[in-house]
């Protein structure tokens, strides 16, 4: 029996193409490396098996990562959102804790747990290939309600907010749309096609690149912020001027 098995194994290693074996080994090495990183850096909240941790009172400490896919890990870790500094309503963008190779290893490990959205190909998010005008229409219908018409972000409920989209890598924009991080809903095929997403990214990058010589841009976040500026700073200056007018000269 043992001899037969050994023979089969030998036959398999003889027949299987060497390159495929090498790729498989490289992949499993990456997954293994990712698993080690995960156990050190992520498992305290997401559990040693990445299936999430529920606190005793029933609230979620870290959600299950089974099926979230490589795209989700690449977005969350690649923008510095994960690991979180502390458990809070919002995971803000901050300095990145893992380099690209480690991030890809983590993504490969999480992707190996269950199928999920993959990291997109460069062609899928290349802003140069997108239709800016069409992207603008799609963006204003589907995204502007939270992220504002020029991607300056906005407030949500109970301290949550939709982040600014300026300075975000196109690949991360794409991944956010397919994975729906935190409060954000999911925008996936076929309702929001890959081409639609590329157009939206092209629009955002175009808006971002536009020069702004008009004095104080106030983040170009629209009439509310400009109104706030006028009411607080402008009116404050007027009150100061009125006080100066009425004051006695020394």
């Amino acid at each position: 029996m043992a001899v037969a098995l050994a023979g089969l194994a030998g036959l398999f290693s003889l027949l299987s193409p060497a390159s495929q074996a090498a790729t498989t080994t490289a992949m499993s090495t990456e997954i293994e490396e990712g698993k080690q990183l995960f156990l050190v850096g992520c498992s305290s909240c997401h559990g040693v098996n990445a299936d999430g941790v529920i606190r005793e009172d029933g609230t979620v400490l870290g959600p299950s990562l089974i099926g979230v896919g490589a795209a989700s890990v690449h977005f969350q870790v690649g923008t510095g959102r994960m690991p979180m500094a502390r458990n809070n309503v919002q995971a803000p963008r901050k300095s990145i804790a893992y380099d690209e190779e480690q991030t890809l290893a983590l993504a490969a490990y999480v992707a190996s747990l269950a199928p999920g959205p993959a990291i997109p190909e460069p062609d899928q998010y290349d802003p140069a290939q997108g239709d800016i005008a069409r992207g603008g229409v799609l963006y204003r219908t589907n995204c502007a309600q939270c992220h504002n018409t020029t991607g300056q972000g906005g407030a949500l409920t109970l301290g949550k907010y939709a982040p600014k989209l300026t300075g975000v890598e196109p690949v991360h924009m794409y991944e956010a749309m397919v994975t729906g991080p935190q409060s954000m809903p999911v925008f996936v095929e076929p309702v929001m096609s890959s081409e639609d997403k590329r157009d939206i990214i092209a629009y955002l990058k175009n808006v971002e690149s536009e020069a702004n010589p008009g004095g104080l841009g106030v983040g170009r976040i629209g009439p509310v912020s400009e109104g706030l500026w006028v009411w607080v700073i402008g009116l404050g200056a007027l009150i100061g001027a009125a006080a100066w007018l009425g004051a006695r000269s020394s």
Binding site: Q145, T157, G180, P185, V186, E189, V191, G214, R248, S249
Partner: protein, 351 residues
Amino acid sequence: MTTHSSDLEPASQGGDPLPDPGLPPHRPRLSDTDAKSAKRAERQVAAMFGIAALASLGFVAAYLALPLIEGDLVRLQLSNLALGLTLGGALFLIGLGAIQWAKKLMPDVEMVQERHPFESSPEDQAGAIAAFQAGVEESGIGRRKLIRNSLIGGMALLPLPIVFILGDLGPLNPSPPRVRASTIWGPGVRVVNDVTFEPIRPEDLQVGQLVNAMPATYKDIPETEHVDALNARAFASVILVRMELDEFEVPQGREDWDVDGILCYSKICTHVGCPISLYEQQTHNMLCPCHQSTFALAESGKVVFGPAKRPLPQLALEVDAEGYLAAQGDFAEPVGPSYWERAKFENGERI
């Protein structure tokens, strides 16, 4: 009477219980006493007026140096900035200089201006009364009772047309006002993706997904009917969300309104009608950016925060013969903000 008034007399016969403190002593300013300080103030005022003159010249220079270029928005912004800064600066500095001049150099000695009683002389008053009485006498309004009574009648009925015409706003209206109690949604109307107008299959939607959608019949409105199309869009816009089956409550009467966890709600806030789709997929709350009304989509659109008073109307969904999402009918209640007759409608019918 006398005892009462004597009670109100101040206790001390000396007059005012709080004596008039008078004016504070005049303090001379530094520029009044120190010639160097006065000279400095003079230079400051002159500098302000001088910079104002330069700013006016700068306005002309900016106008000539930055001509507008067709289609160049950046140039337009730059020109606006330069023109605004120079002209605004000139006006501001002239005002600032004038005030500095008055505060530092013009005399600031306190002066008292007496106020006089605000009434006409007794002769003028007597004359006016005499003229009025002569008018009453000459018109004979006291003698000619018929004229007087008919005038009262004529004046008394004058408000009647106003009361009657305003009555149209209320229950007296013979023809009800045009109100929008229905939308272009109807039985079997497909739910299509806004912008792309692609129909949607239930299996296309993932849990956590948000779709901004429109009725397929929106495309049938002729493009010439622009106002109709805009109104239809404003009232018929909806959003689709998908939740896990155990994540949302199904109230009685809405058991078959969702398709496998796909729920459809009006996109128009019930407060003052802003379009809303700030959907948080984790809490299933939808927030209106105008006044922060928050609707719990997992609890049939109930208001959980903010000034809105009515839950977000839900549209009943079905799957049509070809497998696409469609409406079972129109909304059961008028969508959008409340109005006077709103309570009298159900299923688009006046009740």
